[in-house]
């Protein structure tokens, strides 16, 4: 089972993979709003959602999607809650 750090790292990796290497996310603080990343437009956000769903085998609920996708940290928290992962 993944712990919180592992889930967070995987989330960041998936986002990086979707955006491609031309968008440098290595130093991105998990709390940074994803809206601040210029490469993440509405289509990129959808692609990230799809990639995360496939990675963690879950569906993001439509309600509160904006809050869920606020930052790497909020996404990680959602995935942990849904999958039971995160316990160290």
């Amino acid at each position: 089972m993944m712990n919180a750090n592992t889930v967070g790292r995987k989330v960041a990796e998936v986002i990086q993979e979707v955006l491609g290497p031309e968008t440098e996310l290595a130093g991105l603080d998990p709390k940074t709003p994803l809206k601040a990343v210029s490469a993440i437009d509405s289509l990129a956000a959808l692609r990230i959602m799809v990639a995360l769903e496939n990675e963690f085998k879950l569906k993001f609920e439509a309600a509160n999607l904006e809050e869920t996708f606020h930052s790497v940290e909020t996404i990680t928290r959602y995935i942990e809650a849904r999958t039971g992962q995160g316990a160290a």
Partner: protein, 514 residues
């Protein structure tokens, strides 16, 4: 075909089938009779407020019941509807409203934007629109005193009256404004319905933004037929699939980006969508890969329509064996497509040149932009800026956008070079452009590879065998992606900045070959 004024679409359907469901939105079904009443109420309010013929009313609303009521109420009041994307930045919105001399703007009741945004565009009335408990809620703010404009006479034949203002997506430059007449809108709806044999029994999914021509078509066609329209405020794959399944959607006007997401999203199990008989793609080229993934997953073909904001939809491709990515099908009933050379002379069948379209759904020109109009509207044809070819069956192949680069006095067709680059099995896609070098342009290419291993020298060897020397890219960048807009369309004008960013991200990458 009998002309029906689009402002009467809902009223006619309400008389024929008052209890039939017109719109499904946010879990609520609204009948044609109720929708017609709401539209009438808002149209009366607008008239009392002095909004009428000669006025422009901007709709800054997402896909919603509010949009539909406002769209038809403005037309019924005799004013011009100007749908604008609710995602615009403040600067973009103010620019568009100012250019359009918008007199009134209708926006959502929970709109977080301050009224100063509309004030700075010199709008007279800002009207917040919403629904609560089945009631239509209006809250207006008079932003400036306006002259009383009620009862301005409507002159001329009503089918030639402008009813909708639109702006082009700007893929070839800055947005250009145009007016569509009642006749244009009617023919847009009619062409589409006739091409697919649609009837009042169909159920449309309105997921593409109504503020764009293609999204608006789902609203127009459904209303014209008296069919049902299921409205999706925001495209989310699971919600869309649930609507198709639950509401028995039969017609879905999608974009390639939407189809790709539906083909790839996590589904366990994959729902069956037996009702969906007409899944259509437009706004950007549909790749074979996306077609196949979608078809493989849902067992459904995707049909293509080709068009532009200026001309609306023009051709339809209903072939289920998708082998040629350039093929966009044959002209819809009543539409003529021809190919012209650079001097706007018609080419014989098989010739490659500019696509020219003659259609009753096409507008007559751009507003206050004579130079652009002269380029795009000639001798009864509209030239959307794409290169194409008509095959032996009369089907249209779109070979890309009209893009000529002047290299040392020699004109190079960027699309021709791209076709050669793309024909290498290791190349996924490419974009050819001119990089300024003093007064000259250096032919440059950004290339996305399917997999690593191919060197720039090998790629140029491949080109050298197929292109004249002056058509060989002088600078070749291997990049990971090409710049695209939110609809998945390649943004040519963004390529230089995109390449600069790519180089900055990985300076060790083999980027350049002179």
């Amino acid at each position: 075909m009998t002309f029906v004024n689009p402002k009467d679409f809902i009223g006619n359907a309400a008389r024929r089938s008052p209890d039939k469901t017109a719109v499904v939105f946010a879990g609520e079904a609204v009948s044609y009779a109720v929708l017609n009443d709401w539209i009438g109420a808002l149209a009366r309010w607008l008239k009392v407020a002095g909004v009428g013929a000669g006025d422009t009313v901007a709709l800054s609303l997402p896909n919603s019941l509010e949009f539909i009521v406002a769209f038809y109420a403005v037309m019924r009041a005799g004013a011009v509807v100007f749908p604008v994307s609710p995602k615009l930045t403040r600067k973009e919105l103010v620019g568009l409203l100012t250019d359009a001399h918008a007199d009134c703007v209708i926006h959502p009741k929970d709109d977080p934007r301050p009224l100063e945004v509309f004030q700075s565009a010199d709008v007279s009335i800002a009207l917040q629109l919403g629904f609560s408990g089945g009631d239509l809620l209006l809250e207006s703010a008079a932003l400036r005193v306006r002259p009383q404009a009620a009862d301005k006479p409507v002159r001329g034949r009503t089918r030639y009256q402008p009813v909708v203002r639109q702006y082009s997506s700007g893929s070839t430059g800055t947005p250009k404004h145009m007016l569509k007449t009642s006749r244009n809108l009617f023919h847009d709806a009619w062409h589409f319905a006739a091409a697919f044999g649609l009837t009042e029994k169909d159920v449309f999914l309105g997921a593409a933004p109504f503020c764009h021509n293609y999204g608006l078509l789902s609203l127009l066609a459904a209303s014209y037929l008296g069919a049902t329209l299921v409205v999706v405020k925001q495209f989310l794959p699971h919600a869309v699939l649930e609507h198709i399944h639950k509401d028995q959607v039969t017609v879905y006007l999608a974009t390639p980006a939407m189809l790709e997401i539906l083909a790839d999203c996590y589904l366990d199990p994959v729902p069956s969508l037996p009702s969906l008989r007409c899944c259509v793609s437009s706004t950007a080229p549909l790749t074979k890969a996306v077609f196949e993934r979608f078809h493989c997953r849902f067992g459904l073909p995707v049909f293509q329509v080709y068009g532009s904001t200026e001309t609306a939809t023009n051709t339809v491709q209903k072939i289920t064996d998708y082998t040629d990515e350039t093929l966009v099908g044959t002209p819809m009933p009543g539409i003529e497509v021809q190919i012209f050379d650079e001097h706007f002379r018609r080419l014989p069948r098989g010739g490659v040149g500019r696509i020219g379209i003659k259609s009753s759904s096409a507008c007559g020109g751009y507003l206050h932009n004579a130079a652009a109009s002269a380029q795009t509207f000639r001798a009864g044809y509209v030239f959307p800026g794409d290169l194409g070819q008509l095959d032996a069956d009369g089907a249209l192949h779109v070979l890309g956008r009209d893009n000529v680069i002047n290299v040392g006095g020699m004109k190079v067709d960027a699309l021709e070079v791209e076709r050669v680059l793309n024909s290498h099995p290791a190349v996924a896609e490419s974009l050819v452009y001119g990089a300024t070098d003093g007064n000259d342009q250096r032919l440059s290419a950004a290339v996305v590879l399917r997999s690593g291993g191919l060197t720039v020298a090998e790629l140029l060897d491949h080109c050298r065998a197929r292109l004249s020397e002056h058509k060989l890219p002088k600078i070749t960048h291997i990049v990971d992606t090409l710049p695209r807009d939110e609809h998945g369309k390649i943004v040519r004008k963004a390529i230089k900045a995109h390449v600069r960013r790519s180089r900055g991200a990985d300076p060790e990458k083999p980027l350049k070959s002179s």
